[in-house]
Symmetry: C2
Subunit: 324 residues, 2 copies
C-alpha cells in the first residue's frame, strides 16, 4: 500500500478538484459549524475560528475524503467494494461511504487501536480484519483481502481523491470566515494538510498554512527540513491519528505549498485537549489538540491574526483520559 | 433568602416578560446553537433538538437570568452591587452580569462545590465567600453580606426576572425549530423550567413541557403530586445543579403550566451524560444529562415526536468523571 515514488507525470490535485469534491460531498457529509471563544481569544492573543470536524459524520474529517473516493469510482469497480487499513477514523469513514453507495468494505485494523474506533468501523458496516501493530502486518492483511475480493484499495492519505475531499473542510471554513490570515491543521500522513493547502492557496496565495505535528512522531518536520521523506521507526505520541508516515504525494504538496511544519510536546497536547474541553465544551481527540498546543506552547503564536484551526475529530475512549 | 409563601397579589411573569428579557439580553449573552444527531434520533425514536446552553457565557443558561436581573435594576441599586448564594453557575452568572454593568458582586459558595465552579465565579470578578454546606450556612453568610454592603440579593431561581431571563432559551429554540411537540428541561429550584413553560405555552398552548428530576432529589416530583411544596432533607444526586428545593414562585408556575415531572436514576444520568459526550461530542455536566436520561430510561419517550431538550451547562471537574 505504501508508495516510495511519485507516479510518472503525476500532478497534484488542483483547487478545481477540491471544488468538485465539495459538490460531490454536498448532502453526503455535514457542513460542520465554526466555533469561537472570546475568553480563549484573549488568552491566545488573536481571533481563533475552530472548524469542528469532531461533529462530522463518524466523528472526524475523514468522512470527506472517503466519501469523495468511493463516489468517484466507476460502477463496476464500486460494486466489488473497497478496502483499506486504518487505525480507526479512515476505516469508519470508508465503511460509511461504502454503505452510502450500497457496496461492501473491508478494514484492516491493528489490535492496539482504541476500542471506540474499532466499534465505530464495525457499526458502519465494514468487515473488520484485526492485525498486529505495525505497517508490515497491516499491508500484508490488506494485500490478502484485495487479491481475494477484487476490492479497490483506498489509501488513507496518499491518494488524490482523498486529498481533494479533505480540502473541502478548509473551503467551508474560508467561506464562513472571510479574511483568515493563517490556517493550522495537524499532520500525520498528510491527507488533510495537503488538501487544506491546495484549498487555501487556491483561494488566497497569501494565506499561510502551517502543519502541526507531535514531536514524538515528527517525520514530517524532519522531511520538510531535509527536503526528502525521512520515516521514523516507532513514533511515540498520544495523538494516535498522527502516527503515520507522510505519504509520497502528500510530501510533494507539503514541500511546495505548506509554509511551515511545527512540533509540540506530549504535555502540550494533553493540556491543549483539556483546554478545549473545558473552554469550548466540546470533545476532541488528542490529534485535534495538536494545533491548539502549537498556539499555547508558542510554536505558532496567533500574534493578533485571524486563525482558522481544523479540529479533526472527537473519537476517543472516555475511560482512558490522559489526566486525573 | 428562601420564601415560604407567595407575595400578596403576585402574578407570574408573562410571555411578554420573556420577550422583554430577550431584548434585554440581545448582545449580552450568546444565541446558542441547536444540535441534532441522526444516529441518536434513530436510537431514541424521534427528532431531538439540543439547545446547547453549555456553549452559553460562563458555560450555563444561568447567564440569561442573571443578566436580565442585573440590567433591570435601577441605577442607584445597581451601584451598591448584587449578592447571592450559589453552588456555582448562578454565582458565575451574577458575577459576569455585575461586571458587564461595572458594579460589584458577592457570592456565597458552599465549600464542597466543584472546584471548576468556584474558579469560574472568581474568574468573573466576584468576591467569593466560602461557607459550610447546607442552606442555613449559605443564608447566614448571605444575610451578613447584604446587611454590610447594601447589595441587592438576587435569588438563583425564586425571582421573576430570573424566571423571565431563563425563558429566553426556549424562546430561541422554538424560533429555530418551528413545530416542536415537546420540550424537556431539568428541574432543581425551578427557574429554568418555569421560564421555559411560560415561553412555550405563550407561543403554543399545545406544546408539552416536561420537567426532569433526579430520583435522589425528587422534591419537585413529590410537590407536583402532593399539590404543595414538599422539601426533602438531604438530596443525593450527582447532578449538583439540581439539589435545590423548588422555589415558591417556581412551584406555582410548575403546578399551573408544566405537564409532568418525571424522575431518573443516578445510573441513567451517568449513562446519558456519557452518551451525549460520545455521540454529540460535546461536554455537558450531569444536570444537563437528566432530560436525556428521561428519554433513554423511558420516563419520557420521544415516540416519534419533535423534542427540544435544553442542555443546561457544561461545567464540571474533568478529573472526577463518573466512569472509568
Amino acid at each position: 500500500m505504501s508508495r516510495q515514488a511519485l507516479p510518472e507525470g503525476w500532478q497534484p490535485p488542483t483547487f478545481g478538484d477540491v471544488q468538485a469534491a465539495a459538490r460531490m460531498l454536498s448532502g453526503r457529509v455535514h457542513r460542520t459549524p465554526v466555533l469561537t471563544c472570546a475568553a480563549l481569544d484573549e488568552i491566545l492573543g488573536g481571533q481563533i475560528f475552530f472548524k469542528c470536524e469532531n461533529f462530522q459524520r463518524i466523528g472526524a474529517f475523514k468522512a470527506r475524503g472517503a466519501m469523495n473516493a468511493v463516489w468517484s469510482l466507476g460502477e463496476e469497480a464500486a460494486a466489488r467494494g473497497v478496502a483499506t487499513h486504518s487505525s480507526g477514523n479512515h476505516g469508519a469513514a470508508l465503511a460509511l461511504a461504502a454503505r452510502s453507495r450500497g457496496v461492501p468494505s473491508w478494514v484492516v485494523i491493528p489490535e492496539d487501536a482504541p476500542q471506540v474506533k474499532k466499534d465505530s468501523v464495525a457499526r458502519e458496516g465494514a468487515t473488520v480484519v484485526s492485525c498486529r501493530p505495525g505497517l508490515a502486518a497491516r499491508e500484508e492483511g490488506l494485500g490478502r483481502i484485495v487479491s481475494e475480493t477484487g476490492a479497490t484499495l483506498v489509501h488513507p492519505y496518499d491518494d488524490d481523491r482523498i486529498i481533494a475531499g479533505q480540502g473541502t473542510a478548509a473551503l467551508e471554513l474560508m467561506a464562513d470566515v472571510p479574511g483568515l490570515d493563517l490556517i493550522l491543521a495537524p499532520i500525520g500522513g498528510g491527507g488533510l494538510i495537503s488538501g487544506t493547502a491546495i484549498a487555501a492557496k487556491g483561494l488566497d496565495p497569501a494565506l499561510q498554512v502551517v502543519a502541526c505535528e507531535p514531536a514524538g512522531a515528527d517525520d514530517s518536520r524532519r522531511s520538510f527540513v531535509a527536503g526528502r521523506r525521512v520515516p521514523i521507526e516507532s513514533p511515540q505520541t498520544i495523538a494516535d491519528g498522527l502516527r503515520a508516515t507522510i505519504g509520497v504525494r502528500n510530501f510533494a504538496i507539503v514541500t511546495e505549498m505548506v509554509d511551515d511544519v511545527v512540533t509540540v510536546t506530549e504535555e502540550g497536547i494533553v493540556e491543549a485537549m483539556r483546554f478545549v474541553w473545558e473552554r469550548l465544551k466540546i470533545v476532541i481527540e488528542p490529534s485535534s489538540a495538536v494545533p491548539v498546543a502549537a498556539m499555547l506552547e508558542g510554536a505558532c503564536r496567533p500574534d493578533g491574526r485571524s486563525v482558522g484551526v481544523i479540529l479533526t475529530g472527537g473519537n476517543l475512549d472516555l475511560e482512558a483520559l490522559p489526566w486525573g
